[in-house]
Structures are given as structure tokens and as C-alpha cells.
């Protein structure tokens, strides 16, 4: 995971070392590089702007207070994003503590064994992702679809597919097994696919799923 390091500007690590020596400008430079990404990550996980702002601020306070503990084994970017993720997870735990939802309806590890969601609306998308990403209504749709996911699926999707943490890193961050990460990621991807395709899919290319077929003739490509 790389930070920004172009031309003659100092590397992330150089900035961090100078910040350790008490140079505010270096620390502020580091913040400037990572604050958009930290804010985006925490907002995606928390789905609420004020909580994302609080989590972002607390992330940089933690970074400042633990500058001496960075061991230079990981990239600075990875270290900061781990702190941000942990901060967002702490906010989620705090929310659950305040929640009035009965305990037996809260997420638990066993519900990863529920049946896999089956694709229902299957159609080619009308446009390419790069083009779609520029449209404001699509940005809104992406946020909406993400917010509709269960918290445990959303967190895994954001860490794996958006922030590009590995399966092992994600498992470590969340304190779950790698196979649980994979199961949750698959569910998240399938649910988001279904939700987005219902809006972005081209109805004229829609095909009917047949869950029981095995190379069924009606679906064979000719």
C-alpha cells in the first residue's frame, strides 16, 4: 500500500521521522496526505458524516501519540489506515453499546452460514464503471447500496475491495478467521451486485437465472 511520493517531495517515512523529532510541519504534511483517505474510509464504514469526522480526528490524535511506536516494518499508509479502521470499529462498538436492539437480533458469527444470496436480476450494465463513477446519481447509489449492507459485510467489503487490505490483514483487523472474511466478502459483493444491477443493468440484456441447471441448453452461449 503506497503513500504519495512524487518528485522531490519527502517520502511518507521521511515525514514521519521528522514528525518524531517534533516538527509540526512534517506531521501536518503527513496529515495532508492521508486525511482524505482516512475520512473516506471511516465514512464508508460508519455511514455517517459526524462520526466519520470524529473518527478521523481521533485517528490523527492516535497517530501523533504513537509516532514512536511505528516500527517501520509496514508502510506508513498501512499503519495509518489500520489506526483509522480500528477507530471506526471502536465507534461501531460504542454505537452497539448505545443500541436498544435486543441482543439476539445483533450480528453474530453464526449467521455467515445462512444460504448464499442468489443473483436474481441478471443483466449487462449499460455503461462502464469509469464513466458511471463520474455521475452524481451513481455516487448516491453507491453510498445508498453500501449503507444497506449489514455492518459486518460492509466493513469487510470496504477493507478488502476499496482499501485493498489482504484477506489476512482484514481478518487480523476484525479479529475473525480468514474464511469468515471470504464468506462475508462474497455476500457483500453479491448483495451490492444485485442492488447496483437493478439500477445500472440494461433490461434488454436481462437473462433468467436457472439455479438448478448445469450447462443448461437454454442458457448456452452460441
Amino acid at each position: 500500500m503506497e503513500g504519495i511520493d512524487s518528485g522531490t517531495s519527502p517520502t511518507d517515512l521521511e515525514l514521519l521521522r521528522r514528525a518524531r523529532q517534533g516538527q509540526w510541519d512534517a506531521f501536518e504534511g503527513l496529515m495532508g496526505r492521508f486525511e482524505p483517505r482516512v475520512f473516506r474510509l471511516t465514512w464508508r464504514i460508519l455511514q455517517q458524516r459526524e462520526d466519520a469526522e470524529d473518527a478521523t480526528q481521533q485517528t490523527f490524535i492516535n497517530v501523533m501519540e504513537h509516532l514512536d511506536q511505528f516500527r517501520e516494518e509496514a508502510a506508513v499508509a498501512t499503519w495509518i489506515l489500520r489506526i483509522a479502521t480500528n477507530q471506526a470499529l471502536a465507534t461501531l462498538r460504542k454505537r452497539r453499546g448505545r443500541s436498544t436492539v435486543p441482543l439476539d437480533t445483533q450480528p453474530n458469527p453464526g449467521d455467515d452460514e445462512t444460504p448464499m444470496p442468489h443473483p436474481e436480476f441478471i443483466a449487462q450494465w449499460r455503461d462502464d464503471p469509469a464513466e458511471l463513477a463520474e455521475r452524481s446519481e451513481v455516487k448516491e447509489l453507491l453510498g445508498q447500496a453500501l449503507s444497506e449492507l449489514d455492518e459486518k459485510h460492509r466493513v469487510v467489503f470496504v477493507l478488502r475491495d476499496v482499501e485493498e487490505f489482504s484477506t489476512r490483514e482484514t481478518a487480523e483487523l476484525l479479529g475473525i478467521s480468514e474464511s469468515n472474511v471470504k464468506v462475508r466478502l462474497l455476500r457483500a459483493r453479491l448483495r451490492l451486485r444485485e442492488r447496483l444491477t437493478r439500477t445500472l443493468g440494461d433490461e434488454s440484456t436481462r437473462v433468467t437465472p436457472d439455479h438448478d441447471h448445469d450447462h443448461g441448453a437454454e442458457n448456452r452461449v452460441t
Binding site: 517534533g22 490523527f60 453507491l142 453510498g143 466478502l185 451486485r193 442458457n219
Partner: protein, 80 residues
């Protein structure tokens, strides 16, 4: 391989993390199953779209507040 089995292996396939023997079965099935081809393509595009999207720009007012707060903390800690 049936559609259900393909679904189970879909993430590993999309991530390029699938056992070669399963990969072959996966692609054999895909070659003859239009719905599965579309689902795999949809999933790839879903991931690409989330990677490309920038829906949460950093608000300027928050950025100013953040820097002021951290600057004050820094002065308390390092005294400069």
C-alpha cells in the same frame, strides 16, 4: 460445476486466488452459461465502480478544524 458451485468460488476467481483445477472447471462452466458470465462481469464492475468512486470529499471546514485541534494538541505535547 453447477451455478451454485460457481457462486461459491466466485470471489476467489475474481481475486485470481482459485486453485488451477477449480479454475478450469469454473471457466468450462462459464463458457457455456450466459447468466454466470454476466454475474461474474457484474461483480467485477461493482468492485471497479467502488474503487473508482469518490463520494466522500473532505469538507474544508472540517479540515481547518482538524488541523487547529491537532496543532493545539501538538503544542501541548511537544511545546512548539
Amino acid at each position: 460445476m453447477k451455478c451454485d458451485e460457481l457462486l461459491q468460488a466466485l470471489s476467489d476467481y475474481v481475486d485470481g486466488d482459485v486453485d488451477p483445477s477449480i479454475c478450469e472447471e469454473f471457466e468450462d462452466h462459464l463458457a457455456g452459461c450466459n447468466p454466470c458470465q454476466i454475474v461474474v462481469d457484474n461483480v467485477r464492475k461493482t468492485i471497479a465502480l467502488y474503487k473508482a468512486g469518490e463520494p466522500y470529499p473532505l469538507p474544508e471546514e472540517f479540515q481547518r478544524r482538524l488541523h487547529a485541534t491537532l496543532r493545539a494538541r501538538w503544542q501541548e505535547r511537544f511545546g512548539k
